[in-house]
Every structure is written in C-alpha cells, then in structure tokens.
C-alpha cells in the first residue's frame, strides 16, 4: 500500500547540547518550531495540528509547548516510542496528511535530559531486563563482543564509526560536538561497558527539532510553488519475541522495518544515496545497516574502516555526525534526522553535503523489551 507523500515545507532545530536549567523543554521546542515556520515562510495560523515526540517531558508536554508557541486550541498529540519518538510523530503527521485530516502539520521532537537522566538510560523498571542490571550500553557492548567473535571484526574497526561521525560533525553547526577525534582517543576513553568506552556512546543531551509537513493543498495555503523534499513513507515496526539460540545480531527487526519502508515508499535499497542511522552506540550503526540489508552481513565494521560509509564513500552514513556527535536528546533525534535529510536533499548541507543526494533514509530504534529484538524501529524515506 502506498500513501500520498508529505511535502517538507520547512525544518528547524536548535543546536543540541547541555543547556542550563533555565532553558526549558517548552522553550527549546518553541525555538525549533519558529525556525521551521520561518524556513517555510509560514505563519502559526496555517498550522492544522501539532505532533510532539518526547520521552521524559511529562504529561501533555505538547500542549504545554502549544500554549507557549501560540498553537493553543489546536489538535495536539504526544508520541512516546523512546528514541524513535520524534520519528513516530513524523509518521503520525504523514498519516494525517495522507488521510486528508490535515493539510499543514507541525512536528516537534524535543527532550530535556541533562537535568533528569544520569549515568545512562535504561528500560522501564517494570521490564525484567531492568531487574538484572541492564543498561542500554550493556546491550550494545554484548552485541559488539559477539559481532567481533562471529565476523572477525576488530575493536579498531568498531571505533572507526565514532571517528567517522565526529569528522562529519565538524561541518554541522547544530551538532553538540564539532571537533574531530582520532582512533586512539576512542580506544583510550574511559570504559563504560566493555568493550565500549565513552566515545562509543552517544551523549545525554538537550535539544529540539521541528518539521513542517504539508499536503499539496497545504503547500498552496503557504504559497509555496517551488519543489520541496518529500517524505515518501515512514515504516514502523516493533521487536518480536525471540525463541531459540540464533545470532544475537540478526537484527530481524531492522530487516522488517526496511522491507516495510520499501513497500510504503516504492523506493528500493539500491536507490538510497545517504542514511541517517541511529548510532546511539558505535556498534549499533554497523549491525543496523546490516539488518536493513544496506551493507553485507558481517562486513559493516570493515566497510567503516575502509571509508565506504564516510562522506565521499560508497554509501555515506550519518553526514550530520549522527547521534554520537550531534547529540541524542532522545525524543528529538528522529525529527533532527528529517531536518538533516531535508538539508541534504535541498543541497543546503554545506561542508557535509552528499553530492547529488536524491534519496535518503533515516532510521531510529527506540527502547528495549525483555526477550525481544528491540522496542520500536522507524524508517523514514525521503526524496527530493
């Protein structure tokens, strides 16, 4: 089944980072939203509905934002799919446009983490994994150790993901970190969950990103006649309960997310020119690219070390710098990925531009559920 694409009329975000306590969730969201509206040349009165992705924002965060932004009274919904929350909000807005419910939908992904999360994120206390001491970094560390043993990959090759993404972030003014790092810094960083160290992990961040999506009627309402990048489809799947003793890095959930998004968008894996991939940890970028079928199984680490996933390589991954460098305010990440794809497809990405980018994919994986191969996975396909 194919739904109508959503046109991206405008995008905006604030630089991700660690903000002081007086920089509020609502305030960050308002700044990102105003940037997206300004980018589209749209007034608040054009917006039919607001879709907000967040995890730690508390009850009706979206309505609190609307009341400060000036969208009070409008339909507002809050979307929580852990690290895929922002992309899930994009999906729901796309569906509402395709259904004809709205013509102009504003999506905001936002998170204020640095004043409420310490030592790393973990599953809900009610999940069995939490009872045995699971933290997200530990899951990816176990993934990395098994991956190295099964595929002959090296620690250096996995660390190369961080080196690559930080090199890209030098050109991204919205990134939390904008300085290059070298391999020795990654290998010598303080251990978090062995074999992963501090620079294998995305930071705990604050930030907001916004996307203004339109139907063709919405574009006319905004007076936009120029061609805009389009969201062709947004896949959404959840992890399935695993039985047996199969490959713990099979990433079947990523395979299913990919297949769904190819079907929804009419785009195939060979059409993808760049990927914004959920590199919450270095190894995650590798196994998820393999799960999607965009990199051959077991070769992702070697591909990274060989430069195939860098700018100018075979398939650039995370030209923005990814979560490792842009930062990872969890509910904002999916919306920030759509901002990056929009800039790339417009040719506005400056020093991190993927030359000739026509089609891009953004992937988020949010949360964990005991016994499954993941919480939620989203896949956004965009075309210029």
């Amino acid at each position: 089944m194919t739904l109508a694409p959503a046109h991206v009329a405008g995008v905006g975000m604030i630089r991700f980072g660690k903000y002081p306590a007086d920089v509020t969730l609502e305030g960050m969201a308002v700044r990102a939203a105003r940037a997206a509206l300004e980018d589209a040349g749209a007034g608040l009165d054009t917006v039919d509905g607001l879709y907000v992705g967040h995890v730690f924002g508390g009850p009706v965060a979206g309505q609190r934002i609307a009341a400060q932004l000036g969208l009070d009274g409008r339909p507002v919904s809050n979307h929580e799919n852990y690290c895929a929350s922002g992309a899930t909000a994009v999906r729901e807005a796309w569906v509402a446009l395709a259904a004809g419910l709205h013509d102009v939908a504003l999506v905001i992904g936002v998170e204020k983490m640095t004043d409420r999360v310490a030592g790393g994120v973990r599953p809900d206390p009610g999940d069995l994994d939490a009872a045995v001491g699971y933290v997200m970094a530990a899951g990816h560390a176990m993934s990395a150790r098994r991956y190295m043993a099964d595929h002959g990959a090296t620690r250096d090759q996995i660390a190369a993901v961080a080196v690559k993404n930080h090199a890209h972030s030098v050109h991204n003014p919205y990134a939390q970190y904008q300085k290059p790092i070298d391999l020795a810094q990654v290998l010598d960083a303080r251990p978090i969950a062995e074999p992963l160290g501090l620079l294998d992990c995305s930071p705990i961040s604050d930030g907001a990103a916004a996307v203004l999506l339109c139907s063709p009627a919405g574009l006319r309402r905004l007076g936009i006649t120029a061609s805009t990048p389009r969201v062709l489809g947004v896949g959404l799947v959840s992890g399935s309960v695993q039985a047996g003793l199969g490959d713990p890095n099979a990433e079947d959930v990523s395979r299913r997310a990919g297949e769904q998004t190819w079907e929804l968008s009419g785009v195939g894996p060979d059409d993808v020119d760049l990927v914004e991939m959920h590199d919450c940890f270095t190894i995650a970028e590798i196994v998820r690219m393999e799960g999607l079928g965009l990199v051959p199984r077991g070769e992702g680490a070697a591909w990274t070390a060989a430069g195939h996933t860098g700018l100018g390589g075979r398939l650039p991954v995370n030209p923005s710098g990814g979560l490792l460098s842009r930062g990872h305010p969890v509910g904002a990440t999916g919306a920030a990925q759509v901002c990056e794809l929009t800039w790339q497809l417009r040719g506005d990405a400056g020093g991190r531009q993927v030359e000739g980018a026509r089609t891009g994919l953004a992937y988020c994986k949010g949360g964990t559920v005991n016994g499954t191969d993941g919480g939620s996975v989203t896949t956004v396909v965009m075309s210029r």
């Binding site: 069995l128 176990m142 003793l245």
Partner: protein, 141 residues
C-alpha cells in the same frame, strides 16, 4: 505470644522456584519451543497450543557478556552482565555472572544457576533473584 517465621521467597513467583532452585519457562505442546520468562503464547509457532510451565536446566554457557563500568546512581559497578544460553532448553536469557574476575570472563564459558537475595519485602521476607556462577576453572585436563 506468637512467633512468626519468615521464609525466603522469589522476587517474582512466576519466574522461579526455590526448592529445587530452578528458573521456570513455558513449553509449547505443539512445537516444543521453550521460553523464559513464561509467556501466554508460543513465539515459535504462535499456534495457540497449550503451554506448560516447566523447570529449566541450571547449566548454561555465555553467549556474550560485558563488564558494566558505569551505571545510574545507586548501582554498584563493576559487574558482569551476560547473555546466557541454556543449550538443553534452547533458551537465552540475560543475567549477571559472578565467581569470576571480570578480566577472566570468556565467550562460551560454562556457568550454573544460583539464587541470591535481591531485596526485602515489606513483611521482612527476603526476596530471591537469579544469577549465574562461573564453574571452577580447575577442570581436569
């Protein structure tokens, strides 16, 4: 005057028995798939066939592991966290591993189930959880 005797109990009654100390799984009568924790459906065949609660083997091996060096406040580090395979039941689960120095843990290392106190209930009862202990390494060559 009365005396009360408190006895230990599992931190979750559906997960384990104390005597003998065993984890509980569910086994599908149609395809034989065993899962931990026990579930209300079979993830192997999803046939809706009856599921039986069964005790699981206590013998496992390490599929993968990590040494957690940083955790949220209140959690003591380091500790070894592992994906443990129970080969005879074809079950994989996550648990901490004790009885071996972090730098000596290895893939495929044999481990055995062990129950241990994880907290105290409001009535003073000790709550028992599960973990795995590395086998002594002096196995005869």
């Amino acid at each position: 005057m009365s005396t009360t005797t408190t006895v230990d109990r599992p931190f979750r009654a559906d997960l384990l028995t104390l005597d003998p100390p065993r984890l509980l799984g569910s086994r599908c009568s149609a395809c034989g798939t065993t899962t931990f924790p026990p579930r209300g459906f079979c993830p192997g065949c999803r046939s809706g066939a009856e599921l039986e609660t069964v005790p699981l083997t206590t013998e496992g091996r390490i599929c993968s592991f990590t040494v957690v060096r940083q955790a949220p406040p209140g959690v003591e580090v380091p500790y070894v966290l592992a994906q443990v395979d129970l080969p005879s039941d074809e079950v994989r689960l996550m648990a901490t591993v004790v009885g071996v120095a972090p730098e000596r843990v290895a893939l495929d290392q044999p481990v055995a189930l062990e129950l241990h106190p994880v907290g105290t209930a409001d009535d003073g009862t000790t709550l028992l959880g599960y973990r795995f202990r590395a086998h002594p390494e002096e196995v005869a060559a």
